[in-house]
Point group: C2
């Protein structure tokens, strides 16, 4: 039996944690200290989170679009890093950057460099196409 | 003597082609057909370019901020793919998406997945923080 590699772990993390809000699964993938190195627009940008804070961020981020799904377009892995190129889709049912629910279906794209240590995620460096989101909320 | 790897080639490409607008160097790094798989906001998004079109895109993109520089924050490489995480800085001296020169210094961040074939670049999948640019032009 071959141990799962970082790409496999990341795919499971995205599916279980971000696409299905499985709070218990967070402990399986996220280190006790998780740093958001760069993520413009994210309210936690620049912060280091413990598991409780990570779950708070997850719940709060997902409440804006409870049916949200990330779809992985590509994954590129080297040593303890995995980059995911992704598209995202969700229905806008809660506040996004102060804009109340519109009911619009929103799509967004981005790339995230995820950093592992001992098979646990210790942080990320991400850029998402925030302008596309604003254009869809205004439209 | 060890041949230069894709990461080394990408760093040279960014420096010579994007940071210094060396049109002749384009031929050393870019394949005869280069595809912009995904690059929201780029006027050539979705298109495949020959070398002449690539140079036209380079010249036109650079004219908006002739002193522009990409700084590589990280590179993650796997087989024929190299992802660059970057920050960008330039002085706004030409049209950006219809907004005439403001003279503002603009910073932007993004990630680009670059695809190689036989040591030449055949395309990219990119997301940049366009919203940050608009905010700096409006400010």
């Amino acid at each position: 039996m071959q141990a799962i590699n970082n790409k496999g772990l990341l795919a499971q993390f995205i599916d279980q944690v971000w696409n299905n809000e499985n709070l218990e699964a967070v402990n399986d993938y996220v280190a006790p200290r998780y740093t958001i190195y760069h993520d413009p627009g994210d309210p936690w940008d620049g912060q280091s989170l413990d598991l409780a804070k990570f779950k708070e961020r997850l719940t709060q981020s997902r409440s804006a679009a409870p049916d949200q799904k990330f779809e992985l377009v590509d994954m590129i892995s080297e040593s303890d890093k995995v980059v995911a190129a992704w598209t995202w889709r969700g229905t806008h049912l809660g506040d996004i950057a102060g804009i109340p629910a519109t009911g619009n279906t929103i799509t967004m794209s981005g790339l995230t460099a995820y950093y592992f240590e001992n098979k646990l995620l210790i942080g990320h460096w991400q850029v998402a196409d925030r302008l596309a989101v604003y254009q869809q909320l205004a439209g």
